[in-house]
Each structure stands twice: as structure tokens, then as C-alpha cells.
Assembly symmetry: none
DNA sequence: GGAAAAATGAAATTTTATTCCATAATTAGG
DNA sequence: CCTAATTATGGAATAAAATTTCATTTTTCC
């Protein structure tokens, strides 16, 4: 993968002249990425074709391609990974770890989502008579946020984080209603029951949950989100953020489907808040 | 300096044709690093000199040098840039854009946070007699989430998204109480007043807001979060997610400060939920 | 509406990389 | 230790790519 390592590994399969090239590159790779093939050849006291052959031997397409690989190796970035917080971490460390894990999980979540199902969900939502968001605990927060967003669209929308209200609402639902049930684990009994009730009453049930959960089985559409929670801390962190991002996607899909006139309306909603705010000086 | 971000930032200083180039590059940077200047020019429907001028405008020496920078940016882990959703985007496109923008903004937010202030905030929180979270609109959701988290720590914690309750609560606060006020714009009048009231009553006021806002001026500690909201859609998206990640950081700092015994307690809280869930088969 | 400034692309030029091939170096077999 | 075969190497030619120049078009500003 890393071309510098590769050069080191293959050093003994190279010919004498090619090794000269390798040495120049290894000794100052940062200069090389800004050199032409002629400059490098001169530096290594060999000819240009030799440099070219050297590049091919390393499975690159030629000198420019080789420089590209070299540049990437030097950039040597740390891609975002799920790093667990450690007891001895400083504020800076745990802060970085949490942000990075969150980003890594968003990436995971994105990969696990099927755009076709997003599209179907948006279809269903734009045609809904009423939209309900149900969640408990951390997912209640997401449902709450979803209500705030869809409320702006001037469609009937409700959100409940109370089991009884959820049940009653589910029982009262009917064809044309959309019920979005949010649960990372997909195993919360009362929510699974609510989904089932809503379905029995002909509502379209969209589940925001993980793959193959009891909740997923009760849903008309399952938007599955894979995230790996850091269970060390016993608190939902990444899952709810991925859920929120998904809500953003659905809300965006909704506004796009409704067209530009509709977006003017959103602007009005936003402008209506102006008087409650301090002016900007700039 | 990530060149993809740079392109995004300078998008409006570019000429029409140069912007075409920028768009092609942003939409598939991985293709571009393997393209010749001619291929890119053709893809963007402009001439080769324009590509060249574009590269120079971004302070690179020319096209090959630009490709080098681009390659490094891509290797650098984050190809995540703030990309605006477009009217003609497919579900897959707007989904990707939203997730990527969210990630890009989390990165921005992380950079704008000062670990020292995080540390101070955690200090204050661990010693608090009572913790209150206040927010309105999208930030109310964040406050709601914060309550869920801190509630597990077995400390007195409240959350209000009602201006009157917020005011009353602020007036009743006293030394040793911590009030966390959340507002992306930092310009919501009633929240600024609440912060001011709490401060007058000797509570420690922590603001989660942007830099240099009216709210920031009223706070004892300002945790400033820079994010660039996509104002095209008139909905808070990235800001609240960054705020949530910050809440995670604070909550994590809290548990770390309290030590391992305390974390056993968290496990108990989590275990208490077990009976309300379906068992896992695996 | 027109002059000045800015943007753009066609063509020429320059730079850079690659190919071809003759020659030199190395190796293996006697 | 020599010779034929193989491999490595570089000079020159060629091809490809990037850059510069400059005329033309478009935009901006009065």
C-alpha cells in the first residue's frame, strides 16, 4: 500500500541503477515529488529511462503516476477510526476520539443506507396525511428533532416519547399515515408493539433501526443504520447522531421533492424568527 | 491545508469557467488525479489554459503540482467537504452530500474547540449542585439529549425548552449551579436574557454557541463551535450535530473524572433497561 | 451604448515523459 | 578465462502533456 515501504521491501529485487534511484527517493521523498524525471535521473546519476523502468517495476503506470503514489504516502493521514476512550486520556485526547469516532460511524452509517429505500421513504412521506415520530430515550431526542424539522413543512406531524400516547396514536392511525419508529437496538418491546399496531391499522411504518431486529420485521420500510456504539460508556452516542443525519436526509429529500416554490415557504418560516433575535452588526 | 476545502471556500472568487472545473474536481476528485489536463478540460467543457489558470489561482505551480496537492488531500483521510445539495440531486447524491457535510462540519467544530475550556467545563460540572440545560428550537433537542445523558449520572439535572420555565429556573439559580445555554446563532434574545439572569444569580453559565455572539458575552465559559450551516435549506443541520458531539465530550469527561466505580454505576443504569427489551438470539 | 477590463480558448511553444534501439555490462556454460 | 546469451543501461527520437502567447469574446462599469 504505502509506496515508500514497498520500495524498501523490493530494494533487493532492483538492479544497480534502479537502486540508486530508490536511494535518492528514500533519502528525500519530499524533494522528489516536486522533481521532473530528468532532475531525478540527474540526481541519481542515471538516465531517464531507468527512472521510468523503476516506476513500472513498482506497479505504477509511469513517473507521474509514481509521484502521485509517493505524494499520497507522504500525506500519510489518519483516516477516522473508532477509537475507544481511555481512562487516562487528556481532555484533548478524549475530545478528538469522540469526534473522530462519530465521523467514522457516520461513514459506516452512510454505507449501510440504501438510496432506493430513502427514495421510497421520501415518496411515502410527501404523500402522507399525517406523520408521526416515535422513540424512547436517546431516540426520543431524534424523534423530537424530526418533529421540529417536518413541522416547518406545514404537514401534520406529531412526536411522542410517552408509551401510552404512542400506543393511542398508533391505534388511531390509518391508511395514508406514516409512522416513523426510531430505535437503535430495535428491541424495545413497547416500540415494537407500537410499530405492529400501526401496521395493523394500515399505516406505513418506517423503521430507523439496525439490520435484522424485531422492530425491522414489523416495518413496511426499514432504513437500517449500522454503527458500532462504544459500549464501554453505556450511553448512546454515535447511533443517535447517525439517526439525526438520516432525518436530515429525509427532510432534504422532502423539500427537494416539493420543488422551489415550497422552499420559498421555508424561507418565510426562517424569516419569522428574525424579530426574536439580536441583529448582526456585520 | 486540504485543497478540497480550499476549492470549496474559494468557489465564489472563481470565474464561471473555473467554477466548472471546480465542480468536476469536487464531484470526483479520485478520477481527476489520474486525468491529464486535456481530459479534465474536456470533462468540464472548457479549455486547457483555463484549467491551468484555475490551478494557479489555488496557489499551486501548475496542473501537475495541483494534482499532487489533490492526491495528498485525498490521502489525508478526509475527502469530506461541505457540499451543497442541488435541486437535481438523486437520493444517493443528496444523501452522500449531507453525510459528508456533516462529517466535514464535525471536523471544523473539533478544531474550533479548546480542550482547556472543555477541561474547565468538566471541572465545573463535576462539582455542580444542579445542572440545567436550556435551548430553543433545534437546540432544545440538544438540551433534551444532554438531560438524558447527565440524568444517568445521578446528579440533579433539568432541561427546559419553554422560555418562562427557563427564566424562572435561571432566577432561582445560585452559586454552585451550572447553567448550560445552547444556541448556534447566539442571538436569540430570550436565551441571552436567561444567561444573563443566571449569571446575576451567581450560577456558572456555560455557553455552547458560535464565536463572538451576544450570548457568548454573557457566559462564564464559552465553548465555541464553528460550523458552516448550509443556509440554502433554512434548517439547522450541522450545528446541532456538532452540539450533540460536544455534549458527548462533556459527558465522557464527566464519567472519566468520576472514576471507575462511577462507571459501574452506569452499567447498572443500562442493565435496568434489559427487561424492557427483546433478548438477542446471538 | 461604448470603452475598459476580465475571461476564455486556439494555436504555438516548451517541458516532460516514454519508446525504441544500439551498446555496455553481467552471467552462465564450457 | 573466454564466449554466447541475457540483462541492464542510456542516447536519441518520439509522443504526450503542460504552458505561454495572443487574438477574440464576454462582462463590467461608467
Amino acid at each position: 500500500m504505502n509506496i515508500l515501504e514497498k520500495i524498501t521491501n523490493e530494494l533487493d529485487t532492483l538492479s544497480k541503477s534502479e537502486r540508486k534511484v530508490a536511494e535518492v527517493i528514500l533519502s528525500s521523498p519530499n524533494t522528489v515529488i516536486h522533481s521532473s524525471i530528468a532532475a531525478l535521473a540527474k540526481e541519481a546519476n542515471i538516465s531517464e529511462p531507468t527512472v521510468n523502468r523503476f516506476c513500472r517495476r513498482l506497479d505504477t503506470k509511469g513517473y507521474p503516476d509514481f509521484k502521485l503514489h509517493l505524494a499520497q504516502s507522504l500525506a500519510n493521514g489518519t483516516p477516522y477510526v473508532n477509537r475507544h476512550v481511555d481512562e487516562t486520556d487528556s481532555a484533548e485526547e478524549y475530545m478528538s476520539k469522540i469526534f473522530e469516532s462519530t465521523m467514522a460511524n457516520l461513514e459506516l452509517a452512510r454505507k449501510s443506507l440504501d438510496p432506493m429505500l430513502i427514495n421510497r421513504s421520501v415518496d411515502v412521506l410527501t404523500q402522507a396525511n399525517k406523520i408521526s415520530f416515535f422513540g424512547l430515550g436517546a431516540s426520543a431526542v431524534v424523534a423530537h428533532d424530526a418533529q421540529n424539522k417536518f413541522f416547518r413543512f406545514n404537514v401534520p406531524v406529531v412526536y411522542f416519547d410517552d408509551i401510552l400516547m404512542q400506543r393511542m396514536s398508533a391505534i388511531n392511525s390509518r391508511q395514508g399515515d406514516v409512522v416513523i419508529v426510531i430505535s437503535h437496538t430495535g428491541r424495545t418491546k413497547s416500540l415494537v408493539e407500537v410499530a405492529s399496531l400501526a401496521k395493523e391499522n394500515d399505516a406505513t411504518v418506517i423503521g430507523i433501526t439496525s439490520k435484522d431486529t424485531p422492530l425491522a420485521k414489523e416495518c413496511s420500510i426499514v432504513l437500517s443504520l449500522d454503527v458500532s456504539e462504544d459500549t464501554d460508556l453505556y450511553m448512546p452516542m454515535a447511533s443517535r447522531i447517525a439517526q439525526l443525519a438520516l432525518i436530515d436526509v429525509l427532510a432534504t429529500g422532502f423539500t427537494l421533492r416539493r420543488g422551489s416554490k415550497f422552499r420559498d415557504n421555508l424561507k418565510k418560516v426562517k424569516d419569522s424568527l428574525r424579530s426574536s433575535r439580536f441583529d448582526r452588526k456585520d
